[in-house]
Structures are given as C-alpha cells and as structure tokens.
Amino acid sequence: EAGVAQSPRYKIIEKRQSVAFWCNPISGHATLYWYQQILGQGPKLLIQFQNNGVVDDSQLPKDRFSAERLKGVDSTLKIQPAKLEDSAVYLCASSRQGSGQPQHFGDGTRLSIL
C-alpha cells in the first residue's frame, strides 16, 4: 500500500510569514495525526483527527497554528504568523480506526524560519 504522503518536503520562510503543509494519509485510515519534531527531540503531537473531527488538539498553539481535515481524508496544517521557534520537521501520521493500531508516518516537511 502507498505510504503517507506529505508536501512540500522542505520550506524556507521568513518570520511572520505564513506557511501550509499538506498530508494525504494511507487509504482507509480514519485517524490522522500532526506532529512537530524539533532537532534532537522526539516528535510531539500537535493534533489528532478521527475522520474529520478533532480528537485532541491540546498541544496545538492555536493562536498561530490551525489544521483541518474537511472531507476526512487529506489534511492541511497552517502556521500564521511563523516564529523562529517553529523551525522543525512537521510529521503527519495515520492509523486504522480501533485500539492498538500502529501509526504510519510520512517523511515530514522540514521548515526553516529565517
């Protein structure tokens, strides 16, 4: 099966600009996750969707970050305005519905803020 697709692969912007990332999960996976991974650290969950509904967004900085999954398939994550500390890799993952299903990760978008 095709894996989780993310684009772009790399993005460089200046602080205070906006940026958007796109994720297409594995077909049939109801659950979608966005993670932020800062260099040298493990991934940190930003938001979790179950179909098109938000399950957990407790660690999403809602003043500048937003995410949507309108049709319950692909998803976008937006940052507006970006800050220097947002430099990181943004990972998308998906999993089948149900307990104990492993998460399948994309290769992420590396964001650099100048």
């Binding site: 989780v4 659950t31 040298g40 650290q41 493990g42 991934p43 940190k44 969950l45 979790q48 399950v55 957990d56 990972l91 993952a93 999993s95 307990s99 104990g100 299903q101 492993p102 998460q103 399948h104 990760f105 994309g106 290769d107 992420g108 590396r110």
Partner: protein
C-alpha cells in the same frame, strides 16, 4: 501517560545482538509498550508492540518482565542499516493511541 527512560545512546558492531532497555515505572494496567525506529530525514516506523512476556516478529523481540516496569527491545545480529534512533512508548491501547515520544536511544552500528 507513563513516562519512559531510555539510554541516550548505544554503540554496537555489525553482527552483534543489541538490547535496548526502557524503564516505565508508572505504567498503568491498560498500557501497552510500543517501539518505533527513526532514520535521519524519515518519519518514525513501527517496530513492535507488547503487553507482557515476550513478543517476536521478523525484525525484533520485545521482552517484558512480570512487573512490566521495564522492557527490552532486542535486535538480533545488527547491521549498519540498523543505525537509527529507537523510541520506547507506553500508552493506553484502548484509548486514543496518543503517543508521547521521549528523546529515544541513538544506536550507532560500526563495521
């Protein structure tokens, strides 16, 4: 969610068996133990998951003692391509599958 503690780094040579131990003293009754592997510039990849005793798949084995306060990921006969960061996570398998990643163990395999 239970906090995990792993060694920051480990070194090994090709062909050796590598055992990475993870401590999770506050693991809850419903928590499962899951290990992920991450190569540079890639997302984490699921390796193995278990609840108690021993689990084995084509990639690794997971040993969990009776008190479940720790677990050991065993990689048989490692190769250079096993150089990666390995994450141990615990979480309630029956809830949202929310994963909390620590800093992981950086395994370096030498020829």
């Amino acid at each position: 969610l239970a906090k995990t503690t792993q060694p920051i780094s480990m070194d090994s040579y090709e062909g050796q068996e590598v055992n990475i131990t993870c401590s999770h003293n506050n693991i809850a009754t419903n928590d499962y133990i899951t290990w992920y592997q991450q190569f540079p510039s890639q997302g984490p990849r699921f390796i193995i998951q278990g609840y108690k005793t021993k689990v084995t798949n084509e990639v690794a084995s997971l040993f969990i003692p009776a008190d479940r306060k720790s677990s050991t990921l065993s990689l048989p006969r490692v190769s250079l391509s096993d150089t990666a960061v390995y994450y141990c996570l615990v979480g309630d398998r029956g809830r949202t599958d929310k994963l909390i990643f620590g800093t992981g163990t950086r395994l370096q395999v030498f020829p």
